[in-house]
Symmetry: C2
Subunit: 281 residues, 2 copies
């Protein structure tokens, strides 16, 4: 009964994410009828209804929601298998390190320098906030720089790299910009500069006055326009915008940068990079 083909899983994931057969087929580069057939065959094979085709579009059933999560995990496992096999087959293949754009510039630079000196080649994969975990699980990356308490570290091994405070990023002209330190209370009491809201794991946004953002670049744009207030690790002020200043937020939780890799990774190269990273301390 485990004779599901990955094609069927990919098709289902596409439909489940788009909730629309036409768009999903488009994304997959196939026509819509084969997709409809593939999904109904999948439902028949599993003996479970995955989608409700109501008038007005498609919704996931409870079983469909389960399969969406599980199918993504399974496809991730396959992608991981491919990547690790190729890595083992050609050891000079560069490892992929995922990191948030703009985070820990100096650390990353140091790390890459050290690895280059060691002769180990590493590709850096810049990703959006919160994507590192997915990239590791999907086999797109072998290592990631992640941040406690923001990132989800479940299923990964980690080594701490460093701990730092956070700063608020403000337009230079803003009254608070003159202060030499702030508290979280100060920050949350700024009605004209609400803090941006990021999507939760399920894709919904928390309530609040701030703008909704889901990518680093969107956020950068909002900050540049002076539309939102940002509290970020001190080292991230390396991505500095003109006309903005960074003010320490003394009672913000400390942020720990860690290097993370999948618990089930057994690659010597990964272990060696982690060792190099830890030696930078």
């Amino acid at each position: 009964m485990d004779d599901l083909e990955t094609r069927e899983l990919r098709y289902f994931v596409a439909v489940a994410e788009e909730l629309h057969f036409g768009r999903a087929a488009d994304r997959l580069g196939i026509a819509q009828p084969p997709l409809s057939r593939a999904i109904s065959r999948l439902e028949r094979r599993l003996g479970v209804q995955l989608l409700d085709r109501d008038r007005r579009g498609v919704t996931l059933t409870a079983a469909g929601r389960v399969l969406l999560v599980e199918a993504e995990a399974a496809l991730g496992a396959i992608a991981t298998a491919v990547r690790r096999t190729q890595l083992a087959g050609s050891p000079q293949l560069p490892l992929v390190l995922a990191t948030k754009a703009g985070a820990s510039h100096e650390l990353l630079q140091q790390l890459l320098d050290a690895l280059a000196a060691d002769g180990q080649s590493v590709d850096v994969l810049l990703c959006e906030v919160g994507e590192q975990a997915g990239l590791l699980r999907r086999g797109r990356a072998d290592l990631a720089l992640m941040h406690i308490p923001y990132d989800d570290l479940a299923g990964f091994e980690t080594e701490e790299l460093f701990v730092e405070g956070q700063v608020a990023i403000l337009p230079a002209a803003h009254p608070l910009a003159a202060r030499d330190q702030l508290t979280l209370a100060d920050v949350s009491a700024v009605p004209d500069l609400p803090i941006a809201r990021w999507p939760r794991l399920d894709g919904t946004y928390p309530d609040g006055p701030g703008p909704e953002v889901h990518t680093q670049s969107k956020l950068a744009q909002l900050v540049a326009l002076g539309k939102t207030l940002l509290v970020i690790p001190a080292s991230s002020r390396a991505w500095q915008w003109p006309e903005h200043v960074a003010v320490p937020v003394v009672d913000a939780p400390e942020v720990t940068t860690v290097i993370a890799w999948p618990s089930d990774s057994h690659s010597d190269e990964v272990a060696s990079i982690v060792r190099s990273a830890v030696k930078l301390l």
Copy 2:
């Protein structure tokens, strides 16, 4: 590049385990030529050599060993996806609990009684020693009874059920059978009854004088014949053989029985069974 089909993974696993195209094809229920073609296409797709076809059979390359492990994980993820989806689609589908034959009889009985009283149906899957982890990872089981420090609990959540000492199982006529307690030193100093050797995770056996066993039934046979000495958790003496006695081994490590389930399981039914099990304490 993640467009590996599960068929290819199943084929590769079969060949990698059999190290013989003919037998693998047989096991898969296909002819040998398509299998040869599928494997070489897989190698071409990955750009990596997986097998060395020397004269005199087939051996795995380093990359092949990696893919064997990763492919089994990926196939397990798919099987898990199927099982969990079906579970979500028809909630009255019985859960599967994997347990070693003969371990913790009374506990298991209590647990099943309690669950039956709750109206929750559970199938019990009796398995050989050390197989529980694989069954959980392959989606064949939803829960397992496992034993610290013997079983590999990586990747699972667990709840302790109880802790107990161990006993030695001896032929009634054996000199040591008259003692009312033993030590590990006593036990290991019995040349006529060497302790059976189990295979390690990689399938090889540790050195030693004892017989090699890999299944519970083989072991039971050896014990019944009075050929080996056994040190097992006290509760397991429920599978008692005629003409044998159990003597406590006072300094043997304590054995903790736990109920385990995959960390990424989010099934309400699983959680409810764990709650029931813990309430038995």
